[in-house]
């Protein structure tokens, strides 16, 4: 089993606060991993370290053969392999849905305009928003915006997708449509790391659940582990969640 994402003893500090205190983790190709934990447990930070939105202090991170911990790494090469979706969607408000999706393929990969357009159509079809291709982000609901953000990421054909609490800003009835899209991706074989509060999604879709606590991987196992937590911390966390 070859790991696509591999963290070894990763430490990350913000000033005096040590947010990651030695995280070690391997994720295989095609694996869907849900990362859960309280806020402040380091789960989002760990995710952001994987595509170097945060720089780590020690340890190593390898992603698709790129040494992320190496300061000399060309970030643009890394980020062509790693897609990321954020809690706040972060669509570009001055661009249409199509332009949001085609910007990176056209600028980074020099995809011709017409080809980029069909790339956008294809990506939008995957998230079920083909009819919104010429809309502006502000004309879409939160759930639709988040699906466009996923399509935007998909259009770069990443090998790994990172999801950072992508449904946390959504109403419950909009959460479902985004989770459905993610479930479709997971079934399609995408390697996904999903930081989430959606225990149902973690249980149902994830191949593996990782519970983080105080900057460490505290407990890990298949989705069923949520039904039978081994550590008191996970038990507490799950109890508080319900």
């Amino acid at each position: 089993m070859s790991a696509v994402v591999s963290l070894r003893d990763v430490h990350k500090r913000f000033g005096q606060v040590e947010v990651l205190r030695g995280v070690t983790l391997d994720i295989a190709a095609g694996e869907v991993v849900a990362v859960i934990g309280r806020s402040g447990s380091g789960k989002s930070t760990a995710l952001r370290c994987i595509n170097r939105l945060e720089v780590i202090q020690s340890g190593t991170i390898e992603v698709c053969g790129h040494a992320v911990h190496d300061p000399a790494l060309d970030l643009r090469v890394l980020r062509q392999d790693v897609g990321m979706v954020f809690q706040s969607y972060n669509l570009f408000p001055h661009l249409t849905v199509a332009e949001n999706i085609t910007l990176a393929p056209r600028r980074v990969k020099r995809t011709p305009r017409a080809e980029a357009r069909s790339l956008a159509e294809e990506a939008l079809a995957r998230v079920g928003l083909s009819d919104k291709i010429d809309a502006y982000p502000e004309q879409l609901s939160g759930g639709q915006q988040q699906r466009v953000a996923i399509a935007r990421s998909l259009a770069m054909h990443p090998k790994v997708m990172l999801f950072d609490e992508v449904t946390s800003a959504l109403d419950p009835h909009l959460t479902g449509e985004v989770l459905k899209v993610m479930e479709g991706l997971a079934r399609g074989g995408m390697t996904m790391i999903v930081v989430t509060h959606e225990m149902g999604f973690a249980r149902r879709v994830a191949d593996r659940v990782i519970f983080m606590h105080t900057g460490l991987v505290w407990e890990t196992g298949p989705g069923q582990m949520l039904a039978a937590p081994q550590t008191p911390e996970l038990k507490d966390f799950l109890a508080a969640d319900l």
Binding site: N51, L53, L75, R76, V77, R79, Q80, V82, G83, M84, F86, S88, N90, L91, F92, P93, H94, L103, A104, R107, V108, E138, A149, R152, S153, M156
Partner: protein, 219 residues
Amino acid sequence: MGSFTLNHVLYLLQGAAWTVVLTALAFLLGGVAGFGVMVLRTSRSRIVRRASLLWVQAIQGTPLLILLFVVYFGLGVVGIELPPLLAAAVSLMVYSSAFLGEIWRGCVEAVPRTQTEAAECLALSRWQVLFDVVLPQAARIAVPPTVGFFVQVLKNTSLASVVGFVELTRASQVINNSLFQPFLVFGLAGCLYFALCYPLSRWSRRLERKLNVGRRQPA
């Protein structure tokens, strides 16, 4: 002592035209330099940020009149003699670069950091992020304060009269020296300045209102 004639009016209008030319030059040159200052002020390198801040503070803490003297008389002493128009334009460029650089830095930083992050995560380069994602959003915010600043610049071009450049203020001085009708002559000059500035101010205010409406209720 003579009387005020049409020729005097034409002379004043000609001066006003040179005021507009000087303002336009300041806008073009100052815009380019100000863009450079903005890029340096938002650099990732702390040294570059500090150095450009020093430039901004030095210029902002110096009267425009002194800048004019340094460029016109100072450079003259070391053998670089600039014609008055060019000396005034260079001074205004230096002056505008500091203020525009800071105005635009503020606008660039007002674009949420998450926009930059999202663009970087799509593998865009620093310049692509700037030109495709940040600047189009910053420009919207930047127009009203930029126009407002150029109302100030237009009025400040009057200082160019001290290096002998015949713009509106200098033209009115010349006329007054022969007619000794300061109320009439300078009053007219004031009206001409107002006629130039007022539409700009109005425009700036309208742009600001438009921007605020856009924020309150997205189209």
